[in-house]
């Protein structure tokens, strides 16, 4: 009789531990996911913030589109040199890796009144958001006109 009770106890506990083991595994895995999610929240950076910093170069850096006086070398920020507003110049200014670059920021830059646009090498018309910058445009003759630079941002393609 005692032997039967012991066997019953052993079997009952084995079943209990099988179920408990399964539930504990699920709890530990869920815990890992919660912590991983919390970690990504702590390190999250808004893509708009990064795009804003990245796009500064388009209107402030003479190696991108910004006008720079050839003699004095003075850079006039927010003045776009129309002669520089080319695909090649954009490639020199910003480009992404040819194979995996679609996972990085890509841009389409449009000069609204001039109706000119250039795109980065992995831009596939997926606009996640846009940034707007009031600029002046200097053409070949030296004339300056007001315009708006629209920067369409493709944050990534997944």
């Amino acid at each position: 009789m005692t032997n039967t009770k012991a066997q019953f106890d052993f079997t009952r506990k084995s079943i209990y531990w099988m179920i408990a083991g399964f539930i504990l595994t699920i709890v530990v895995v869920a815990y890992v996911f919660v912590l991983a999610g919390y970690n990504s929240k702590l390190t999250y950076v808004d893509p708009k913030l990064r795009a804003e910093f990245l796009s500064l170069r388009f209107v402030n850096n003479p190696d991108c589109f910004t006008y720079q006086d050839k003699e004095t070398k003075i850079t006039s920020t927010s003045i776009i040199d129309l002669t520089k507003f080319t695909q090649q110049q954009l490639y020199n200014c910003y480009h992404t890796q040819q194979e995996q670059g679609f996972n990085d920021f890509n841009f389409k830059l449009v000069l609204e009144k001039q109706k000119k646009e250039v795109t980065t090498n992995n831009y596939f018309n997926k606009n996640d958001f846009a940034l707007y910058k009031e600029v002046l445009v200097r053409n070949q003759t030296g004339a300056i006109a007001k315009d708006r630079l629209i920067i369409y941002v493709q944050a990534n393609i997944r």
Binding site: K5, W17, F53, S55, R57, D63
Partner: protein
């Protein structure tokens, strides 16, 4: 006798299971919850944004990173910034890539330096200890 033996065995198994679960939870928490991991990732991300900002200004500039980075090594190259603890394997490094305009250069390494600066001189971005 048989009953006693099996109940002792079960008790040992239960204790082992509880210890294993506690160990797992603590080690996972330590791995994910370590403030150093978060600090490392944030430092790499913020350094990248500082570099993007420096590229986006026409003049020379000097920026000091506003946190203590004495527990890390930072390596800046032309296409990435890596932040890691000196004893850490490479797969745990926080590496953030960026693109510099043509003819721009970025370089520098600092190890266990509390105050780290990024300096832009013409077309060169230098990572160095603040003086």
């Amino acid at each position: 006798m048989n009953t006693k033996a099996s109940s002792v065995l079960l008790m040992i198994f239960e204790l082992l299971a509880v210890v294993l679960v506690i160990y797992l939870v603590i080690s996972i928490s330590q791995a994910y919850g370590s403030s150093l991991t978060v600090q490392k990732i944030n430092a790499a991300e913020e350094m990248r944004m500082m570099i993007d900002t420096l590229v986006g200004i026409p003049a020379d500039a000097l920026v000091q990173y506003p946190q203590n980075l004495s527990q890390f090594t930072l390596v800046l190259t032309n296409d990435a910034i890596a932040v890691y603890q000196p004893t850490e394997p490479q797969n745990l490094w926080a590496i953030r890539g960026f693109t510099l305009p043509k003819n721009h250069v970025a370089e520098g390494t600092v190890t266990n330096i509390a105050q780290v600066c990024l300096e832009k001189k013409q077309k060169k971005i230098l990572l160095r200890a603040c003086t």
